[in-house]
Symmetry: C2
Subunit: 155 residues, 2 copies
DNA sequence: TTATGTGCAAATTTTTTGCAGATGG
DNA sequence: CCATCTGCAAAAAATTTGCACATAA
């Protein structure tokens, strides 16, 4: 039984089989995971579980500050442990590779936003998307990069 | 007729009433807008337009590098002019207020990511979400901020 | 025992698609 | 004219909800 089960119980929530299974999955994976994937995994060991339970559990865990969710450019929301929040991810839009990012890289920006704008940025909410080194070579500069629209011609 | 109409025609696209209306809206608004809202506005002057046309036009414009879309924490995708890309937005998750952000604030991060990770970050893809000064006072520290889970008690 | 949690099925919301007809150039 | 666009209607995908029943504590 993982750490989070205890945490939830302490906070007055009931521990159901469904919750335990979902918690186990979330505690064990390193990166991002969709509701669909969590459901798929729980379903293999506990087929009578329902997607809505997964959604409700995710919502509960987010409310309790244990996980957060993130929207990438395409696809459904992805979830990850909140404790990983201050350890950002870089995600390549092209090949999907995920890289961990040292905290000190984003800290200056956070501080700047706070000092200059009084804004408490939630930089952890989104992974930083872009192109990894390899994909830059392969696909060239992207449309969002300066001085290019990434197009090769008319339709 | 706005600038974009000419651009599209030059690139070999046809100029339809629907497209003109959508372009006018996108060229005139300063911040982010949803497909739903674009549709609603077009619909007032041209009721027979269909949402799918709005979606298709947005896709076209994104492909042509004129607009980009963004996912905020909640709700549907929001669209904005691509030229505004290098002028970032701060968006308050709580009250929805949008603030413009000077480029030089994000530049150091971009450079760092490029130098340390060879990663061409698309920082323009997402608005930076968080809490504005006023909402920090009103709602207190958020769950994603360090040393707090933003909760007041058990269920 | 009983408030809390779950499955189910249906509703919502957001976005996509196939197709036949309309239309810009 | 005819390739490109659009409206329509339906499908798909993602998420939410109401309710009766199940179950953790």
């Amino acid at each position: 039984m993982g750490q989070w089960s205890a945490t939830l119980r302490e906070r007055g929530y009931r521990l159901t089989v469904q919750r335990e299974l979902i918690l186990d999955i979330l505690e064990s994976i390193p990166g991002h995971i969709s509701v669909e994937e969590v459901y798929r995994r729980v379903h293999t060991t506990y087929p009578q579980v329902n997607v809505s339970t997964v959604y409700r559990t995710m919502e509960l865990l987010e409310h309790e500050g244990l996980v957060t969710h993130t929207h990438f450019h395409v696809g459904s929301a992805k979830w990850h442990r909140a404790e990983e929040a201050h350890h950002q991810h870089l995600v390549c839009e092209s090949c999907g590779v995920e890289m961990d990012l040292a905290v000190d890289v984003v800290e200056p920006l956070e501080r700047e936003l706070r000092e200059r704008y009084g804004f408490a940025a939630n930089l952890t909410h989104f992974a930083i998307v872009g192109l990894c080194r390899d994909c830059q070579k392969r696909v060239g500069p992207a449309a969002w990069q300066p001085h290019s629209h990434g197009m090769t011609g008319s339709p």
